[in-house]
Amino acid sequence: MLARRVIPCLDVANGRVVKGTRFVDLTDEGDPAELAERYAREGADEIVFLDITAAPEGRGTILDAVRRTASRAFVPLTVGGGVRSVDEMRAVLRAGADKVSFNTAAVADPELLTACARRFGRQAVVCAIDARRLPASVESDAGVPVAWEVVTHGGRTRVGLDAIEWAQRAVDLGAGELLVTSMDRDGTRSGFDTELLTAISSRVRVPVIASGGAAGPADFVVAVREGGADAVLAASIFHRRMFSIHTVKQAMAAAGLPVRPVAEVEA
């Protein structure tokens, strides 16, 4: 049976892992390759590197981190942030990544998803969607339909897209997986936005990765069970060792969700 994945995310800026609240107030949390290896040892099902500077000059440092990780930790690696072309994607895959996640670049040029899927297969193309509740629907009052808009640049830019419609379109265009981040919850440790997850996971066939708001193991269970997420991603609760991946998986297993045990053979 397909296990629900637990995915630590490394937000990388200038070659270091950083974490802030809603993409601001960044603090240094370590070397990306070292952290990635630690997570792989601890049972991470996959590791996401997110280049939050998304600047061309930062690409070298993130590729170096991927290279160093890929030579020692044999788990799937996803890289996101600033990849804008088929050629750039090839360079990231050649460094040892398995998937590339597109966010702003896909919004600006949706055909990019199609071009990359055609070249490398849709399983290598992840569309990251940063979604924020529209003001009228924050409390989800009766009569007011809940809706989310797509934002980019760490939430600073509104792009005038409905998040649910964009999710469906991204899949039609070639995305093989969706990484859905609630910008209302990101960094707040107030739990995942399960309504957002359900709205998307019920409308697409590709796996949905839940992101934004994890406070503890119980949130992972809710994201899967109520939100229909196939995988759950978190950053700060792992970096700061508030919870281990093992603890999260134990909680998921206890709730009856299929997970990959941390170690099945002696290393």
């Binding site: 296990a3 044999f74 050649r94 398995d98 297969g121 849709r122 399983q123 995988a231 053979v265």
Partner: protein, 229 residues
């Protein structure tokens, strides 16, 4: 890349045919004790002990790249001579005769094993991405030390349906069960990615290298012809 142990390990050619992400499999093989060369053409197969056919993506462009580089016939000759070969994911699928992943109808693939690659049926999510259990149909040295039902990493939407049940080593269920590992003589195929499957994946690659070394030591690998489709 090669350490002191690796210097004595089998020499493995990883087929590079463009789109494939052959970096990861190369690194995982080195960590498992192999010496690795990247093979872009048939000349690079000379003197190696085993061939690994990696691959993600679609069958049609993959077959086109393999043909463009003049690799299709040498690869068939290699396998028909009974020499060790491991196909992974798309590299496993194209070992069979046909793939339903063609742009218009079936696409012809290498034809080394009887059967056709088809889309996963009744899958709750597609692509099938993540760690799933591999249920062994019979014991085989490729899975030595790996508990039945271990999790391996999958990323695919299609899988081969072998015509000959005797080649089936393991099945995995996502929607309906599909064949996730085969062996026919020294030809091995895996739908999952051992190079991305942490400890169990490394164990499988070490087992593969041991089978390669045994085939080389007895010379049987060269002489024993495989029953091919």
């Amino acid at each position: 890349m090669a350490g002191s142990t690796a210097a004595r390990g089998p020499l493995v050619a990883v087929l590079d045919y463009g789109a494939a992400n052959m970096v990861s499999i190369g690194q995982a093989l080195v960590a498992a004790g192999a010496r690795v060369v990247v093979a872009e053409d048939a000349a690079a197969l000379r003197g190696v002990d085993a061939v690994v056919v990696p691959g993600v993506g679609a069958a049609v462009p993959a077959m086109a790249h393999i043909s463009d580089r003049g690799l299709a016939e040498p690869l068939r000759d290699w396998v028909r001579a009974g020499r060790p070969c491991l196909g992974i994911c798309l590299g496993y699928q194209i070992l069979f005769e046909r793939s339903a992943e063609g742009d218009e109808g079936d696409a012809d693939t290498l034809g080394l094993l009887a059967g056709r690659t088809v889309g996963l049926t009744d899958a709750p999510t597609l692509p099938h991405i993540g760690w799933n259990t591999v249920e062994l149909v019979r014991s085989h040295p490729l899975f030595d030390g790996i508990p039945d039902g271990s999790h391996f990493y999958f990323v695919h939407s299609f899988a081969p349906a072998p015509e000959d049940e005797r080649v089936v080593l393991a099945r995995t269920t996502h929607g309906r069960p599909f064949v996730s590992a085969v062996a026919s003589g020294s030809l091995y195929g895996l739908q999952f990615h051992p190079e991305k499957s942490a400890e169990v994946g490394q164990r499988l690659l070490i087992n593969f290298l041991r089978l390669v070394a045994d085939a080389g030591a007895t010379g049987g690998g060269r002489a024993r012809a495989v029953e091919v489709a």
